[in-house]
């Protein structure tokens, strides 16, 4: 039974940090070996999970959702109304997207996602989060000086363009729908999806171009 005692957790942390080897790879190896020895998990199952997230679940999923929102106005409406339901049309529902909100950029509004308290992220449609998203720098600064942070990503905004920072403090996760670039008229979904960057769906990239990076 879990005791839910924060003081006890703090004591265990101090004990572990003092006694475990300092190399994180050895720390994780020690944990995996014990879990395997106890019959709690099979190494082959861990292999399959690693493969799922490194090869099959990633930002290409979100890009497909964005591309359809650009080409199908009825889908865009469904996506903006209830993104958790709309992504089921692709079979992309899953980890951390049971409550999902899509926020659309416009010429006058820019949206940007952060989780200041931990590192909440819509895994089933964007895959693993980039290191910067989980960094102290981004988490501390995105809410206070979003324009400076955006400059570091190469995004310069006019002062009259409003920046809306969504701090993922609860179960709700977010995806930004960037604006469709000019010069892509008549493109099909697959071609459009190829120019949607991961960062544009987090809001640290704004102006997509007709050529993929």
């Amino acid at each position: 039974m879990t005791r839910f005692d924060g003081e006890e957790a703090a004591q265990v942390h101090r004990h572990l940090h003092a006694h475990l080897p300092s190399d994180p790879a050895l720390r994780v190896k020690a944990l995996e070996s014990l879990l395997v020895e106890r019959g709690m998990v099979a190494p082959e199952t861990l292999d399959a999970w690693v493969e799922a997230y490194s090869e099959h679940i990633g930002p290409m999923r979100g890009a497909q959702v964005v591309a359809r929102a650009w080409t199908d106005p009825a889908f865009r409406e469904r996506l903006l109304a209830n993104a958790a339901e709309a992504i089921k049309e692709f079979g992309f529902e899953g980890h951390a997207t049971g409550n999902l909100k899509a926020v659309a950029n416009t010429p006058t509004d820019h949206n940007m996602i952060v989780c200041t308290l931990c590192s909440c992220y819509p895994f089933s449609i964007l895959g693993m989060s980039p290191a910067w998203y989980k960094s102290s720098e981004y988490r501390a600064r995105a809410v206070r000086e979003p324009r400076k942070v955006l400059e570091e990503f190469g995004v310069s905004l006019d002062p009259e363009v409003a920046v809306h920072v969504w701090d993922s403090t609860a179960e709700l996760r977010y995806i930004v729908i960037p604006e469709r670039p000019a010069g892509t008229e008549g493109w099909d979904e697959a071609r459009l999806a190829a120019i949607v960057t991961r960062n544009s769906m987090i809001g640290t990239h704004r102006t997509l171009t007709a050529e993929a990076e």
């Binding site: 957790a9 395997v36 501390a140 206070r144 960057t197 990076e213």
Partner: protein
């Protein structure tokens, strides 16, 4: 708890180490830790207890160690404080030939199917009517007494506007102690000036998803 994890608005951090790529590369041990996190745990853990364990890391460790090392320390501390194994068990020598014969084996197809079926939400209909409505101004609580809360320091005692009501969700402050209570839940928009002062942009906003007990009526 006013912990080190509550980073929003904290000053003194340097530039963000930006990248523009689509593929996230992770070390083997990071992938292993992620996979362990997806497949193990104690039956009565809650996501908020798990977050609170991370929040209880010594502050210097929280800032210093790599991200997935924090996960290792969190899971390990979780297992120990749930009585699954002891710190001594973890630190003892291992049998290198152990291969977990009874643990379930899942291949990629099964894992992808489990992921799709793993979508979840704690949203629930409750008899109590919501106290606030969309468009209403509200102020956040200035003081927080819970060990775990999702009301960040930078947004306490501030006035914002309700822009969405989402129904009732499990209150994290109690869920972190294993107590299940649903409460109405809202998105609140704050102007940058309200949060950061007169020099902030006149058009920027910050939106937070907040529970009803985090909010008080204004005026």
């Amino acid at each position: 708890m006013d912990g080190i994890h509550d980073l929003g608005g904290m000053q003194g951090f340097g530039p963000v180490d930006v990248d523009h790529g689509g593929h996230v590369t992770m070390a083997d041990w990071e992938n292993r830790m992620w996979a362990i996190a997806r497949t193990t745990g104690a039956p009565d853990w809650t996501v908020d207890w798990w977050r609170h364990i991370t929040e209880r890391l010594p502050p210097h460790v929280y800032l210093d160690v790599p991200y997935f090392e924090k996960w290792m320390l969190t899971y390990t501390t979780g297992f120990i404080t749930s009585g699954v194994f002891s710190a001594e068990d973890l630190l003892a020598d291992r049998d290198p030939t152990a291969n977990s014969p009874d643990a379930p084996r899942h291949d990629l197809t099964e894992v992808l199917e489990q992921l799709r079926n793993g979508t979840s939400s704690t949203r629930k209909d409750i008899p109590d009517a919501p106290r606030f409505t969309v468009g209403q101004p509200v102020r956040t609580q200035a003081d927080v007494y819970a060990d775990h809360t999702r009301l960040p320091r930078y947004a306490r005692g501030r006035t914002g506007t309700i822009i969405a009501h989402h129904g009732a969700y499990l209150l994290p402050d109690l869920n972190a102690r294993g107590v299940k209570k649903h409460e109405h839940h809202y998105t609140v928009s704050f102007t940058a000036k309200e949060l950061w002062g007169a020099e902030a942009s006149a058009v920027d906003t910050v939106k937070l998803d907040l529970w009803e007990s985090y909010l008080v009526q204004t005026g």
